[in-house]
């Protein structure tokens, strides 16, 4: 398709063309109306003058016969800027006047006519246009009286022609402007298309260009760019997951395989076989758990669970999770303090929030028990309370805590601090918490409990509906 063809096929250009056509028709009809009326006015004056003169000349003929009339005509003909006069016999012989080259038989009928004529005193044969009246005089003479319609022609020259021209120019400009505007639109759309082609080819960093004019294209580009941003984040997450899978799932898989291989090579008794098999199952359970956690994080980050969100009482969730872990804490010699001011209605997935909370409480218990007993009684505090329009959940322990520098890092997948490497866990617990909190539009903060770690989660409270 040619470039022009492409331009003409655009919606913008078609609209402009239709608009121009309508405008041109309207303008032309106004000019036609004006022109017609002005001409009528001018011609009206001319015919009045001719009519008056015809009356006078007819009277003079009646009074003084053809000779008197001829002398009057000759006198008038010689005046500068005079009208047209011609007096002939019925056979067409000129008696007096200043008109040459009349068409044959022009004077054979009476009435108003319009002619191009040449004046007898004009030697260069310059023709003019005139309105004339032909009168048959008694005695077989014919009289032609006329006036130049120079004014009318002049009028046409100075008003109507330019007006028509300006309409033509306008249409031309309109078409050109239309092409220009369309080309601009087309150019921006082409830019967008090029960018999206680039993105489709795999370059996700591409963004639609902004003209900075805040027009509809900019708004569209902004919205598409925001969408691309989101897609990029999601894909980065996906890539991270696959990197994690490559790195952190292959480690336990290798262990699993080694163990099976080792059993194949060395196990000889039923007891040894059984132990090896049990270990294999245990390892695969660990793998399954890591898989589930990764999938759950990925889903939470993708925001897919948003459809299933319902209002529920967060205070009840806090209480039930605390209640679930309370015996375990007690068994480990930890004090457990739970305060939940309910109801705290939030919109979300109770299951996910429960899982996140249980990860936090589980961590708090795990990291509150020092490897060597120091005899200090440690307390875990769990609280749920309303703070303005948000629900705040705090899980605070008195364990080793997390150094400030590491606090952002521990939210990433598979990150485990050196101190915790020896303890069971996958390094996914806090990542899941973070993903779940963000899914629910909340905030997560890791603070110093001096000593220990305090995790503060804030979730938007569901507005209480009065109706």
């Amino acid at each position: 398709m040619t470039a022009l063809g492409r331009l003409i096929r655009t919606t913008a250009f078609k609209l402009i063309a239709a608009y121009l056509l309508a405008f041109a028709i309207f303008a032309a009809s106004i000019i036609a109306y004006l022109g017609w009326h002005t001409q009528r006015l001018v011609v009206g004056q001319v015919t009045d003058a001719i009519e008056t003169e015809a009356k006078i000349l007819s009277q003079q003929y009646t009074i003084g016969g053809v000779n008197r009339l001829a002398s009057i005509i000759n006198r008038r003909s010689r005046q500068p800027g005079a009208g047209l006069y011609l007096l002939t016999t019925f056979t067409g012989e000129n008696v007096a006047g200043n008109v040459l080259n009349l068409p044959l038989n022009f004077l054979d009928s009476e009435g108003w006519k319009e002619i191009d004529y040449v004046r007898s005193e004009d030697t260069d044969g310059h023709t003019s246009r005139a309105v004339v009246k032909v009168i048959f005089l008694p005695g077989e003479f014919r009289l032609l009286i006329g006036r130049d319609v120079v004014e009318r022609e002049e009028l046409r020259r100075i008003i109507i022609r330019p007006a028509l021209w300006s309409v033509a120019v306008l249409v031309l400009l309109g078409v050109a402007g239309g092409l220009f505007v369309t080309r601009r639109v087309l150019k921006r759309i082409d830019e967008m298309t090029a960018t999206s082609d680039r993105i489709m080819a795999g370059d996700l960093t591409g963004r639609l260009p902004l003209a900075g004019t805040d027009d509809e294209f900019d708004r569209l580009a902004l919205s598409v760019n925001a969408m691309l941003e989101r897609i990029e984040v999601l894909l980065a997450g996906l890539k991270q997951v696959s990197d994690n899978i490559a790195h952190d799932l292959k480690t336990p898989l290798t262990r699993l395989r080694n163990r099976a291989e080792d059993a194949l090579r060395t196990a000889s008794t039923d007891v040894q076989w059984r132990a090896a098999t049990e270990q294999t199952i245990e390892e695969s359970d660990t793998l399954i758990r890591i898989f589930d956690a990764l999938l759950m994080i990925a889903r939470a980050e993708a925001g897919q669970a948003r459809a299933g969100m319902v209002p529920f009482d967060l205070a009840e969730t806090v209480e039930s999770v605390a209640e679930l872990y309370e015996p375990l804490a007690e068994e480990k010699g930890l004090s457990f303090e739970v305060t939940a001011q309910g109801p705290l209605m939030v919109r979300g997935v109770r299951e996910l929030i429960g899982q996140a909370l249980s990860n936090l409480v589980d961590n708090a218990i795990k990291y509150s028990c020092p490897d060597e007993e120091d005899g200090v009684s440690r307390t875990i505090r769990i609280a749920g309370e309303p703070i303005g329009e948000r629900a705040r959940i705090t899980v605070a322990d008195q364990g080793a805590g997390i150094p400030e520098l590491d606090r952002a890092r521990v939210l990433e997948r598979f990150v485990r601090l050196e101190a915790s490497r020896t303890r069971p866990g996958s390094g996914l617990g806090l990542s899941l918490v973070s993903a779940v909190v963000h899914l629910h539009g909340g905030t997560l903060a890791l603070e110093d409990n001096a000593p220990g770690l305090r995790i503060v989660i804030e979730l938007p409270l569901e507005p209480v509906s009065g109706d």
């Binding site: 459809a307 015996p327 375990l328 299951e351 996910l352 899982q355 249980s358 990860n359 866990g425």
Partner: protein, 267 residues
């Protein structure tokens, strides 16, 4: 379907299935569900398109004393299920020809109330919700431990049995009054926390059946995730110290590798 075995009629028991009179230990290992199986043959339909998985399930359930039929796609599963006579259906979600959820929905639409356990690789919260909403009674994500699947199938097969409507559960000299929220053992009242009461209630409703940790978490706490530590064990041992301590015989047993069971050990 070369690997499909039609042994649905009890009159023609498959020779490889466990005879109902077989001693418990050979049939069940340490799962301890012998008493419940002995009374009647339980019939199971497994709708699963993966042949290896289906064969494994058939073998394992037969060893546990079930009569097992297999169907390899949704349409076949539906027509077999509609013929009726099954105690429990195990349905995979992603099936050829008709997916698992549509199979269940169709079954329910025709008024069939056979308990259905959905077995699926889709194991996230919303997947479970969709599965249960479609008419499934239980949902187990793949991969699963067979002991977990067995316990859940047993629980489903017993669902709606006489015990569910009773207001008082009894195991040996342990008595739980569901209306009065009271627990007695040998005529002595035992004071339980509300959650402990619900725990015991669930265990006693499934007396004689293995109940897994995740089943307890689901039914007593209404959470479906996998607690990372032994939180459930601590709850159960607390309960055990209340109902078994100072009494004979012990009624609340741990089944290694599976879960817990409440039963009269002396029987």
């Amino acid at each position: 379907m070369a690997y499909m075995v039609m042994i649905r009629h009890p009159a023609f028991p498959n020779p490889s299935s466990v005879p109902t009179s077989a001693p418990a230990d050979t049939a069940l290992g340490d799962c301890g569900v012998l008493e419940t199986v002995k009374e009647e043959i339980m019939r199971l339909l497994v709708v699963e398109d993966d042949r290896a998985a289906a064969d494994y399930l058939r073998k394992a359930f037969r060893e546990a004393g079930f009569v097992v039929d297999l169907a390899s796609d949704g349409d076949e599963g539906l027509s077999l299920a509609l013929d009726g006579g099954y105690d429990v259906l195990i349905v995979d979600r992603m099936l050829p020809r008709r997916d698992g959820l549509s199979l269940i929905a169709e079954l329910r639409a025709r008024g069939d109330k056979t308990p259905v356990l959905i077995l699926s690789a889709l194991g996230q919260v919303d997947d479970r919700v969709t599965g249960l909403r479609a008419g499934g009674d239980d949902y187990l994500p793949k991969p699963y431990a067979f002991s977990e699947l067995l316990a859940r199938v047993e629980a489903l097969a017993r669902r709606g049995g006489p015990q569910a409507t009773e207001t008082t559960y009894r195991v040996a000299d342990l008595e739980l009054d569901r209306l009065a929220h009271r627990v007695m053992r040998s005529g002595q009242e035992i004071v339980l926390q509300p959650r402990e009461f619900r725990l015991l209630e669930y265990l006693m409703r499934h007396a004689g059946q293995v109940v897994t940790r995740t089943m307890l978490l689901e039914n007593v706490w209404d959470y479906h995730f996998d607690p990372q530590t032994n939180v459930i064990d601590v709850h159960v041992s607390r309960l055990r110290s209340k109902i078994d301590k100072g009494f004979e015989p012990p009624l609340l047993h741990t089944v290694r590798g599976a879960g817990y069971i409440v039963r009269d050990g002396a029987r």
